[in-house]
């Protein structure tokens, strides 16, 4: 099996998307002035959410709603709530982060990174493996619960959370209705409603150019991750780096267990593992700034974008694929 992992990882490492991520990293380490304008980066992310949401919806409309859909959604929500608790315990053992920082970091690992998900989808595709279309909806469902776990963990440590009832209502609304969830779920539902026919109309916008757009997006992520690593490398203790590599693997095992219990396809299992393994870098950081302003953003952003994201992209996904094939096949 190790051979398969290495073979897959090697293949993966030489795919354009990984190489463009590496280019971005390199450019920022070299202090090149290469940058993607904020508006362009946001437009790319809108495109990706729109495309994967829609395609997921079409796929569900095509294959019919699987009996496992609800089960998997529920599993996703449970994982998102639970993984931060595990992450928090691990952080307490492996690092010397204070309660608040540990809670904030833990929250990121319960939630998900949609680009990691997309990268896993494209590895599956290149291996010719099918997966459940509704996994996109599971991804959306896993974005938010982890934030609540993080806030609970922080409050246990005596951190009075963001104050009054009014305010925490506002926060909950903000978390559940953040732009990426709304766009992902909305596009999923529209894909579900309009189905194959709708897809035919917009296919040449959301299917064929997808990989190329993803390359540009990963270039930008490499630039941003590299800039973060450069300016925050001092926060990265060995313990934190170890956590950033260990936690995704642990997460993926929980994801695998859930997938096997539910009876997902191997492709679906890989995706659920990837979601469990990935760490948020859009929705959770924004929520943390509002609700846990005392937590140090350099720590959680650097961990999520600078350590765990590249790990999943290069080694993680091939590993999860091999594990799922070995145990689920």
């Amino acid at each position: 099996m190790l051979e398969t992992i290495i073979g897959l990882a090697a293949d993966n490492l030489l795919s354009p998307i990984i190489l463009f991520f590496a280019l971005g990293l390199l450019a920022s380490f070299l202090k090149s002035d290469l940058t993607v304008p904020e508006a362009a980066a946001k437009a790319l992310s809108i495109y990706l959410l729109f495309a994967i949401g829609y395609k997921g919806g079409v796929s569900v409309s095509d294959h019919g709603i699987d009996q496992t859909l609800l089960l998997t959604l529920a599993a996703g929500v449970v994982l998102s709530f639970a993984l931060p608790l595990i992450a928090f315990a691990l952080l307490k053992v492996m690092t010397r982060l204070n309660q608040t920082d540990a809670a904030a970091v833990a929250g990121h690992y319960g939630s998900i990174s949609i680009v990691t998900f997309v990268a896993a989808t494209s590895v599956l595709q290149s291996q010719g493996m099918a997966s459940e279309g509704y996994m996109v909806a599971v991804a959306a469902a896993m974005e938010a619960p982890a934030i609540l776990s993080a806030l609970w963990l922080a409050s246990r440590g005596g951190n009075r959370s963001s104050g009054s009832g009014e305010d925490s209502d506002g926060l909950l609304r903000e978390i559940l209705l953040n732009g990426s969830i709304v766009l992902l779920v909305g596009s999923f539902l529209i894909g579900l409603i309009t189905g194959k026919e709708g897809l035919a109309e917009i296919e040449s916008f959301i299917v064929s150019p997808f990989k190329g757009v993803l390359c540009l997006f990963l270039l930008d992520m490499g630039l941003v991750a590299g800039r973060g690593l450069r300016s925050s490398s001092k926060v990265l203790t060995p313990g934190l780096i170890g956590f950033g590599v260990l936690m995704p693997v642990i997460g993926s095992l929980f994801g695998l267990a859930a997938a096997l219990t539910i009876g997902l396809s191997i492709g679906g299992a890989v995706l659920l593992m990837t979601l469990s393994a990935s760490a948020s870098y859009i929705a959770v950081p924004a929520a943390m700034r509002v609700a846990l302003p005392e937590a140090n953003p350099s720590i959680y952003l650097t961990m999520s974008l600078g350590v765990t994201f590249p790990f999943n992209l290069t080694i993680g996904i091939p590993l999860y694929l091999s594990l799922a094939t070995a145990l689920g096949g």
Partner: protein
């Protein structure tokens, strides 16, 4: 030209807090403000830049608020409540305004 003295308050604050700040200002009876984009900056929490960012988490905005002197304290208190636990800089300077009836 006829001008009147007023105060110009400039609040540099994290983007995810913008909504809360402007609501608090409105709560304190502020009738107008303007939000400017911020490209990047540096402070005790390090250097950051907006380029390539997709999350609002890392960005900041500058809120400018021109106000009559007598309302300043109320404004500052409201702003302080929001900014207090957050990254953010609040500065006030004297200014003269045209069309004072607007403020």
């Amino acid at each position: 030209m006829d001008t009147n003295t007023a105060k110009r308050v400039e609040i540099i604050i994290e983007a995810p807090m913008e909504e809360r700040l402007t609501s608090a200002l409105e709560g304190a009876g502020v009738t107008g403000f303007t939000v400017l984009p911020v490209l990047g900056g540096s402070g005790r929490s390090g250097r950051w830049s907006r380029e390539g960012q997709i999350s609002r988490a890392g960005g900041m905005v500058a809120v400018i608020c021109i106000i009559r002197e007598e309302r300043l304290d109320e404004l500052l208190e409201a702003a302080f409540k929001v900014v207090k636990r957050h990254i953010g800089v609040v500065s006030v300077s004297d200014c003269e305004v045209l069309r004072a009836e607007r403020f």
